[in-house]
């Protein structure tokens, strides 16, 4: 039986090894799973439909499990464009020579993170980083998150003069911003940092119990999310395709689609805008 099985397996794999050209002309994009993963399909399915209509090519969105998976898919040309955070975007730009940052949200050149604490810590909002958090339990979002890890860590190191591992009794990674809010609210962690957009949205939607969790500090502004596209798409979709995609993204006015990100609108971006992120990542030894 095993012999027959081997023969069949070989035959079938040979037959299947034919080139996979059927999907070649679909423009595929992804987005980092920064919040509420169960809604990703709904959030970005709409974006795919819109892009497809405007660009005149078939556009598909594929969901990924982690920030690193989004970058890997981009690197391997499984997706040609992605909505990245500051750090994942920089990783992508470095791994794929010729790729370009083409658009960012209106809010992204001056993005913010909030430090949130469980009410039991008794810490009140203030302009300076609350040093009373020393020795508490603290959670970041995803490891590769810009607003949930990289920039807050940088500013916290400046404020405390210590690494988070030294300053706090325990440091964790919740995975995403919604998880951070839920875990700090439940008291599993005393404090955490979140993307200000996700926090504001959660407050608006009534998902936050402000008697149990509150924001106490805001980081200085820094550049964050952006669209990155591979340089080699023009070979497949024609000369000038990158400019067309950029124009379509910047032209999005539909409130419903913008709410998926959530952004007020998109503006042009370039790779150089993210130099501060590269420098910070180097300082934190996240980038060689």
């Amino acid at each position: 039986m095993i012999l027959r099985l081997t023969a069949l397996l070989l035959a079938v794999s040979l037959a299947m090894a034919a080139p996979q050209s059927a999907l070649a002309d679909t423009f595929v994009f992804t987005a980092i799973p920064d919040q509420d993963e169960s809604r990703l399909m709904t959030r970005f399915g709409k974006v795919a439909d819109y892009l497809s209509e405007e660009l005149g090519v078939e556009v598909r969105y594929i969901p990924v499990k982690s920030y690193a998976a989004a970058v890997t898919a981009f690197r391997n040309n499984e997706v040609q464009m992605a909505w990245f955070g500051g750090f994942s975007g920089v990783q992508a730009q470095r791994l794929v020579p010729g790729s370009r940052a083409i658009a960012q949200g209106v809010e992204d050149p001056a993005f913010l993170s909030y430090l949130i604490v469980n009410a039991s810590t008794g810490i009140e909002p203030g302009d300076a980083f609350p040093m009373a958090l020393q020795g508490k339990r603290f959670t970041f979002g995803s490891r590769s998150s810009t607003s949930g890890r990289l920039m807050p860590e940088y500013f916290m190191r400046q404020a405390t003069g210590q690494s988070p591992q030294q300053f706090f009794s325990r440091v964790g990674f919740s995975g995403d911003h919604n998880a951070t809010i839920a875990l700090v609210q439940s008291g599993a962690w005393d404090a955490g940092v979140v993307n200000y957009k996700v926090w504001d949205q959660a407050v608006r939607e009534g998902l936050v119990d402000e008697n149990r969790v509150r924001k106490v500090w805001t980081t200085p502004p820094y550049p964050d999310y952006h669209w990155v596209i591979r340089g080699d798409v023009e070979a497949r979709f024609g000369e000038g395709f990158i400019d067309t995609v950029q124009a379509v993204l910047i032209g999005i006015e539909d409130e419903d689609i913008l709410a998926s990100f959530p952004r007020k609108g998109f503006i042009p971006a370039s790779n150089d805008d993210y130099a501060p992120i590269v420098n910070t990542a180097r300082e934190l030894d996240l980038l060689d």
């Binding site: 099985l5 397996l9 169960s38």
Partner: protein
Amino acid sequence: MRSTDGAAPDQHTGRWHTTAGRFRVASLWLGVAGLLAFLVADLEIITGTPGTEMGRIANGFLSPDFAATEFIWQALANTLAFALQGVALGITAGFVLAVFWHYRLVRAGSAIIRAVHELFWGLIFLQLTGLSPLTGVLAIAIPYAGIFAKVFGEFLEESDQRPAAALPHGSGRLTTFFYARLPLIMGPLRTYGAYRLECGLRASAILGFIGLPTLGFHLETAFRQGDYSAGAAVLYVFFLLIGTLRFWLHRRLVLVYLGAALWWAPPLSTAPEGTLRRFFTSDIVPSPLKGDGTLTDLWLWFARLMTEQGLPGLWHTLVLSTAALLATAVLALLLFPLVSPQFGNRFSRGAGHLFLMIMRTTPEFLLAFILLLLLGPSMLPGIIALALHTGAIVAYLTGRFTLYLPARADRPRGLQGYAWDTLPRIYPNVLALLLYRWEIIMRETAILGILGITTLGYYVDAAFAEFRFDRALVLIGLAVALNLLVDGLSRKLRQHLRLSINSGQFAREPMS
């Protein structure tokens, strides 16, 4: 009989050394090491209101929502397809390796590829073959080839050599193999293959945690978002898949299933050509060597990686797994009476069987993931998960073994019977099973790092997230070394304790 084997008075002290004495010494060391591990382990409960969360999870399990997860049936099909193809490819490759089992190189190579966990293989192949069916298939097939090679190789070694000797002189090696060796081991091979498919299904589901489109993908999403009704539904689908295995897995249908699997998810890569070359010539080259670094730079790079990540990771892996081994032993000894005909009645045994089946069917990774949500990322959820899963397996096999114990009419009942009759008789088997499982516990402990517990997997996962595959490979290498060490140590101990390879049949016996 076994306990008096090899008994001889010590020349110097005049005391008798018996195998039973060795059991006592080995058990003492196991206990001491386990207790020390519990003392230094990080057992903090990091959670605010576990009661509320527990209530929400229980509520979710009582009201599963099968409609909440889009593509749940596609995920089920993918889980099946990756497992079927992966196991088939693993059997084929393992079979070829087993034919050459007498070469040291083949044995060493097989040991190394099976020491790398399916999830680590998955993380590596995501770089090479993308988010594709091929990644799922290879992540299962490669470690399984190593496992199959070992099992087949040992089956062949242990099989009757006489038919081969009886063949005419000058018969070719292939002829000998197919006519005089293979037929003898076909029976155990089939049984073992079926058992491995069950393991493959678990591995396939778990691969969803790193992004492949199997049941684990949706399970992780649902549980982490706190949507326990949706999560419970996915888990029930998974239980249904495993629980019904024996009803649909027929020998004659295997080829049909395999054909369907190949049709549903053709094992193709979605990554462009050249990823393999890129991986070997650039990705895994230690970063100091990429510039104009010297050997000193390389040493500094390595030393820093070891002190900051490698050694802490190794230490935590060792502590967690040692504590888990002791907890497994205690739990197995407490639980086996649940399914032993020497204790309880029909109904208690039925309930016991159900409980043990659920615990051993649920992958330890998944148990740990759910417990982490309740208890926070200390070692505690890892220890409990490993002990529950492995303890249930050992208890089940031990309980079954009590079937074959002599049924003496004057045997004491209840606690007396447990302590003075059953336990002494089955203890060697429990010890053998624990030693067999030690390596597997270690392998799983390393991988728990992906969930946020600081074992080796934690640092491996970080290295992958930072696209530093040079570091990832060194750290995976450490996990492999630890595993080979434990494997060797366990084999030595089993020989020392005269727990012969035949007791291995319990470790290999199909789990359901």
